[in-house]
Amino acid sequence: MTQVARNDGAPGGAQPDGLRAEARRRRLTTAAFLAPAAFFLIIWLVYPTVATVWRSLFDRSGDEFVWLSNYKAIFTTDTLVKALQNNVLWVAVVPALVTAIGLVLAVLTERIRWQVAFRLALFMPMAISLFAAGVIWRIMDEKDPSQGTLNASIGAVRDALGGSGSVLPNAVPSTEGLTGSLQTGFYVKAPVQAGGQALIGLTGIAPTALPASAKQAAAPAAAPGTITGVVWRDFKPGGGTPGQVEPEELGVPGATVELRKSGSTAAIQTAKTDDAGAFTFKDVGSGDFTVGASKDSFGPPYAGVSWLGSKLINPAVMIAYIWVWAGFAMVIIAAGLAAISREVLEAARTDGATEWQVFRRVTAPMLAPVLSVVFITMLINVLKVFDIVLSVAPASSQDDANVIALAMWRTSFGGVNDFGLGSAIAVLLLVLVLPALALNVRRFKREQ
């Protein structure tokens, strides 16, 4: 088309009139086809871009021309600098992780039964809007284990592993003979001497809180020179006598028991109870002693990780984002994987490569073009990340989770209403995305 136009306009071109008319008609046709697209591009793309750049040179109200001071503000305002730092973090971490996880998922789901089902499940997050995905993760990230799925899971795992701190979180003494609290430990009020016994009965213990190894509580027989005793769940279904070890009452295994000189707070000896809850201190010597289950035996209930607090908000948002996009990366990479000739992989195997070497030295390099598509696509997406940060991070954490796009929105519409500064942030974002775009365009051209 341009060829025709140039020939047509060449001076001294001795072309017959018919040809010239033909050329004009073709140019008109071209223009007619291009006009609608050009019209909308100008209205929706060119004009807003130019207007935004222009607006970014004015102050908040738009009355005063302030040159580049809005841009200066970006680099001097704390929350905006934080947004820039966070964006750098996002760019450094997320595209690489999404690509790597996508690759692993693609390879793992390559030759398995139910492949479609697995891939569908992994790709499903793409069907949800990023904002909705953010809302889901925000609920899962709640700190209270009774609300947030993540913390509930962590708590359950800790309990299952018998982790510290969460044992017997609600225990109380069964009789007045004990003193103390969960924070100090429970001690027998009356002093104990060598040859004596210490009974430490506790209630408020859920049946499930005791390990499966717990047996019928039994105090060891008293012996001279030693102090013996038992820590047990002093609760008998259908009633019983508090302070007495009775049948069907279980010992508390693994509780830490301390022996102190009366009046002192320093432990002379410590012991762990056995499965029957029994413990023994040997060769205690003479004098009065205080015996009790130390505070190590108890602990406050699991409080949960503060995912949405200022420290972990960035990882929390990133995890949600990676969860959404890893499926997408997997599908693209799986397509690339399917295109690799099986014979090449077999050739590597007969050449002596282990499966890992086949992956490292053949599969991965052959996938490089696909991996770079995914990586650059994610790079552009991550630079523009906005809605998932807004939906995962509560207002109180948004300063810490701030990213450029969110900062732009908050500055322009989120109460600050500074359209000059907001426009400047938008222009900065555009400038940052341009190199990645250029990279992609160049790659597309090379492929053609």
Partner: protein, 429 residues
């Protein structure tokens, strides 16, 4: 270097598909064995089992003295050349060839020396820095060869390595591979569907059909003494002409074969060698005549009259060095399950009509023959080299079997005994 032994190797895919049944082969150290057969006969599956790319369902595979049924491919010390060459597209020619050595952590100068030696013998020195996509088909093929020879493995496995080359290059590369193999004296198992490759390259050739081994023999023996109808029809191009015939004893003691309206006197030499024929006098059998045994009688006027056939020329293909003449003759075609299979493999249906009284015969005439289309042609047949097959089991008829061993089973060959011949009426209706 080592021999390769297959002992009753079997491959059954899920769904009871038997790809390879009880394949036993003993390949000597340094031998060039060609596995040949129509597509789907299991030859590639057999090769892939030897390579360790396919699990072995049953039987025992030995490389050297080691049973390798469960040894992964990388530890079998074999090198494979694939039909698609399977070069690593992201590596240069040099790195493609060096790949296996690098994995084995060979010293750098050793790798360099061996890669360059291999590249020199394959004429690849000028292309070492190129990527495979910048090479021609023949060069890629040579890189694939280089990758195999540089490792000096116990055995080469080649899966139709020439089928992606054009005809001229194929002939050249064929000779090249045969030369290399002789120089290196490395045990080689070569899969092809091309009988010319099989016959020209192999020390021995193993013919397979539907997963079963038909015959293993040196090329000339395969051509001269096909163990059954299938091998007879498969080896030789164009294929052997097969007719239903009946043997008749003449008053002078000579044997004549009746083919419908015509008959041929068998050469006494042939009758003396094929003692097994005695049992078939007066009975139907299948007569095989190779196209190269038939000549235009006008070229050889001295030929005896009782060794001639007549037919109408339907197609004449002049190849310069010879003329392929397709004629219709009055005889009953020897149609069998095997011939149907061979035709399907070649993508032909029998030329000519379905009339069981008319058979098509292909002959190789001298280029000086003046035969013309539509003409009735008198042909002389060299009856010293005819082939006979039992119509019930398809086995070739050679020496008379020893009295206590009823069916004929030539030595060093194995035959599938269930090749039954369907009635021609049934095959054609």
């Amino acid at each position: 270097m080592a021999g390769v032994t297959l002992d009753r190797i079997t491959k059954v895919y899920s769904g009871d598909q038997r790809a390879v049944s009880d394949l036993s082969l003993d390949i000597a150290d340094g031998e060039f064995l060609v596995l040949v057969g129509p597509s789907g006969c299991g030859k590639t599956t057999a090769l892939r089992m030897i390579a360790g790319l396919e699990d072995i369902t049953g039987g025992e595979l030995k490389i050297g003295d080691r049973v390798v049924n469960h040894v992964p491919s990388r530890d079998r010390d074999i090198a494979m050349v694939f039909q698609s060459y399977a070069l690593y597209p992201h590596l240069s020619v040099y790195d493609n060839i060096a790949f296996g050595l690098k994995l084995r952590k060979a010293p750098k100068d050793e790798i360099d020396r061996r890669v360059r030696t291999a590249a020199k013998s394959l004429d690849l020195i000028d292309f070492l820095e190129r990527k495979p996509r910048a090479l021609s088909g023949g060069q890629r093929q040579r890189v694939a060869m280089g990758r195999a020879i540089v490792r000096q493995p116990a055995a080469f496995l080649m899966d139709e390595p020439l089928s992606n080359l054009d005809a001229k290059l194929r002939v050249q590369t064929r000779a090249e591979i045969a030369r290399l193999q002789r120089e290196l004296a490395t045990t080689t198992i070569y899969v092809t569907h091309d009988q010319v490759e099989a016959l020209t390259m192999g020390d021995r050739v193993a013919v397979m059909k539907k997963g079963e081994l038909q015959q293993v023999a040196p090329p000339q023996e395969l051509y001269d003494r096909p163990v059954n109808l299938f091998v007879g029809g498969f080896i030789g191009s164009p294929s052997m002409n097969m007719f239903e015939a009946t043997l008749r004893k003449e008053a002078d003691g000579s044997l004549r074969a009746d083919l419908g309206g015509q008959s041929l006197t068998l050469d006494p030499e042939l009758v003396a060698a094929r003692t097994g024929l005695g049992a078939y006098i007066g009975k139907p059998l299948i007569l095989g005549i190779r196209p190269e045994e038939i000549e235009d009688a006008a070229i050889d006027p001295a030929a005896p009259a009782d060794r001639r056939l007549r037919g109408v020329l339907k197609l004449r293909e002049a190849l310069g060095s010879e003329i392929m003449a397709h004629l219709e003759i009055e005889a009953t075609p020897g149609r069998t399950d095997d011939s149907a299979e061979l035709e399907a493999d070649l993508g032909l249906s029998a030329l000519g009509s379905d009339d069981t009284r008319v058979a098509t015969l292909v002959a190789r005439f001298s280029p000086r023959s003046k035969v013309e289309l539509g003409q009735t042609v008198e042909m002389r047949v060299d009856t010293r080299n005819l082939h006979f097959f039992d119509p019930t089991n398809g086995l070739g008829i050679y020496e008379r079997p020893p009295a206590d061993h009823p069916p004929a089973q030539p030595a060093a060959t194995q035959a599938a005994g269930d090749d039954s011949v369907s009635q021609p009426e049934g095959a054609n209706s």
